[in-house]
Assembly symmetry: C2
Homo-oligomer: 463 residues x 2
């Protein structure tokens, strides 16, 4: 039972971005995106001269290594570009990467792919986009466009950078068979469909391993990606670092998974717990209880709400603080604790009580976040872990959510544990799958190497 | 994420009582109860010749000790008598007890009082009844009737058991000033009202201390009170025992409190945590989402529900088990995880989707219970405690709730911790307050003594 008033209600909510997050692409948005002028501006090299340096032919596999020197998150000028979807510029990765990665969860499908910069640019970019899993046909259509355009590029002459033009087709040096790395439950549920509609190999990767590979990559390599949250400093970035174990990954999607990662070895991780009270629960409840049509509507509403209209506070029960055990009058004793009473009273009277969607949203968002925060703290304590990373599409860069999770960890651990967040929080699994494209015996996670003075990230398994 | 299917869905729910639990007394029920013939049958000595052995006059206070030899829960013949409200027969407690105890929580107010047996009977009984806190005027009216009838008895001649008749009025040996022991937040919130309307002293006691006193009493003294739950043996009673520390008390009312009790000393307990997701949350959500008018309606509905209509299972995401980490296809990945999708699909179509109240009730009851079970397990692990007692008015003897809590503790602790339940689960605080009627410097909890071969329970504080 934390003090929501203390943690977030009486202080103005800081804004860490300029534009509201859009939801996942709708069917129309998705299908029009590739044709839309804006998409061409953001990704001007899309459908263009893609060099194919990556080889994955049977029996002749080159390990996928990504050059992360100078990696930087791109500040998008686009008004409706979700901060969590922002590209990552990799100015020194010159090899083309033909494979695409998709992480299909219970609610959202996340796609990650690499595009080289246009001929006059340097390196390339990692691109991020997402779909609702219910609109899986849109997602598959998007993947198919990517696959087809890459195949098409393989047939076109390309500039090798040496002034010579060559073709990227089969048999050439740039040749690559397209492949889609797939993880999440949907990699199994939709496997046959992906395979038949995309017409290329679908390589399935374990969900937990992908989450960890993705998180390792973000923590160790990408500047301005990992941050801590506080009201005073809502986005205090952490420098990329190598000494990262042990940590607890709390991945909040439809449900919640908690994974203890104790080292880089193949067996040095364990799913130690989870909760069925996650994003799916909140979205489900709020879609029934409010008129919101998207999760972002709900998040926006919750910022205007007053949870004390529905929650029962210690002060509602005691009329004052319960000082003996340190519970303030503003502490929430029971989420939704006033609703039953008000509802019954109103039913006995003339009509239904009016509960504002804003108040309901604020109450339930806080309750679910706080509950996850408490369980994460307890699991971290049990396993003697101090660093807790929150990933998954539930957070969406929403300040109140991060504030609640941060506050819960600080409150319960008395400051001994830290909550970390990521700008690409929803893409851990997809990025992990993307990075794991390698021979079967290669591994789970990172190893560093220097390649001509360049910093290289490569997902390897230390046996 | 536990497997609800495994834990309760595929096996028939055993019935451990013959009649459904009624809710708290309505205004009408409450006011008519004292006049109702049934009440007179159950409590034939009510309003009658009450001997007043207990002295609480200023400056001359006798410590309250209760003779628990032969204590036994009374099997009620009444069809609508809540098992949790059943009287406890104390055949060897011959002294009258005039004080009454009330525990006023956020949702329910619980009353405990003692009545001597009729003149031809032995000892007396502890009586239990409850009201909705919103109907506090009914509760106060009930208390006032008790107070008045006791005062009235003090003026009437009574049989001392020695053949002599005496009066219980002021100045006599049986004399006692009426007093109401009050705990819970309402003891503070309604203090002035209780004092003015009842016209007697209101002694306020700390809520946590009362819960512990009450639980200690039930564990150590009352046969057939504490039990473990399993589907094979839904009510396996524990023998009363003295070696009870340490234990974790999880009290589930509107909210949840978790109290670690490490010994009988005054400072040997601590509120180590809690959750705002408790009974109030479930009642609030279900009163909005279903047509249920009482919590017992909701419990009954939940027994007929199929949560898979609203919950997202691992199988819904994977199409199969997620064997790598031991999650079966029937495991709930996300409570209410199907609702958002179905609701949005229906809104885009012709109308609202139909979610059955039964399915909603089953899903949310399981989710809240399972969440409490997980947090209780984690707290018990953190504090190295093996015995977990679940109290509070949330459980109400409902088999699915106990099954979920038991299963969660067994599952997470791999059988190393045990969940215990009580038949008077909702009355821990009220019984504790009742037993704590004693001089200020006397204390929190039990000590045993032998009094002429009789077993005596007395709430004392070991400094």
């Amino acid at each position: 039972m934390l003090d929501l008033q203390k943690s977030s209600r009486n202080t103005p909510t800081p804004h860490i971005r300029r534009t509201p997050f859009p939801g996942p692409l709708t069917k129309h948005q998705c299908l029009s995106r590739l044709r839309h002028p804006k998409f061409l501006i953001i990704n001007p090299w899309f459908r263009r001269n893609l060099a194919l340096h990556y080889r994955a032919r049977r029996g002749r596999v080159q390990v996928f290594r990504i050059n992360v020197s100078g990696a930087k998150i791109v500040d998008s000028a686009s008004e409706d570009d979700d901060a969590g979807n922002r590209d990552i510029r990799l100015p020194n990765h010159t090899k083309q990467v033909s494979h695409i990665a998709v992480d299909i969860g219970g609610t959202l499908a996340k796609v990650v792919f690499f595009n080289r910069a246009p001929e006059d640019g340097l390196g390339g970019r990692l691109n991020f986009t997402k779909f609702e899993t219910d609109d899986i046909e849109d997602c598959i259509a998007f993947l198919k466009q990517l696959v087809d355009s890459r195949r098409e590029q393989q047939q076109q002459p390309r500039n090798t950078g040496t002034g010579k033009k060559t073709r990227g087709g089969r048999g050439s040096a740039g040749q690559d068979e397209m492949c889609v790395m797939a993880t999440g439950g949907g990699a199994y549920l939709f496997y046959d469909r992906l395979k038949s509609e995309l017409g290329c190999e679908i390589v399935r990767e374990d969900e937990m391993e992908c989450l960890i590979s993705g998180l390792d990559f973000f923590i160790t390599e990408i500047p301005d990606e990992v941050f801590t949250y506080s009201e005073e400093n809502p986005m205090a970035f952490e420098e990329p670092r190598e000494d990262i174990y042990p940590y607890l990954l709390v991945n909040i999607g439809s449900g919640v998974s908690m994974i203890k990662v104790s080292g880089p070895g193949a067996n040095e991780f364990e799913r130690i717990g989870g909760s069925s009270l996650g994003g799916g629960t909140l979205w489900g409840l709020l879609s029934l209880l409010t008129g919101a049509k998207s999760f972002d509507d709900m998040l926006e509403m919750s910022q205007k709400g007053d949870n004390t209209a529905v929650d029962m506070l210690v002060g509602d029960i005691y009329g004052t603080d319960y000082g003996r055990i340190g519970l303030k009058s503003t502490t929430i004793a029971s989420t939704f604790g006033k609703v039953f009473k008000k509802n019954m009273s109103a039913s006995n009277g003339t009509g239904k009580p009016e509960f504002k969607p804003e108040d309901i949203s604020k109450s339930l968002l806080f309750a679910i976040s706080n509950n996850i925060g408490q369980i994460a703290y307890l699991q971290a304590t049990k396993h003697d872990i101090h660093n807790i990373y929150f990933g998954g599409s539930f957070i969406r860069g929403h300040t109140a959510t991060m504030n609640t999770l941060s506050y819960a960890i600080r409150f319960w651990s008395q400051g001994s544990k830290r909550a970390y967040f990521l700008r690409h929080e929803g893409y851990l699994g997809a990025v992990g799958a993307f990075l794991r494209h390698q021979p079967r015996n290669w591994g789970r996670r990172k190893s560093f190497g220097e390649d001509g003075g360049q910093r290289i990230f490569q997902a390897t398994r230390k046996e």
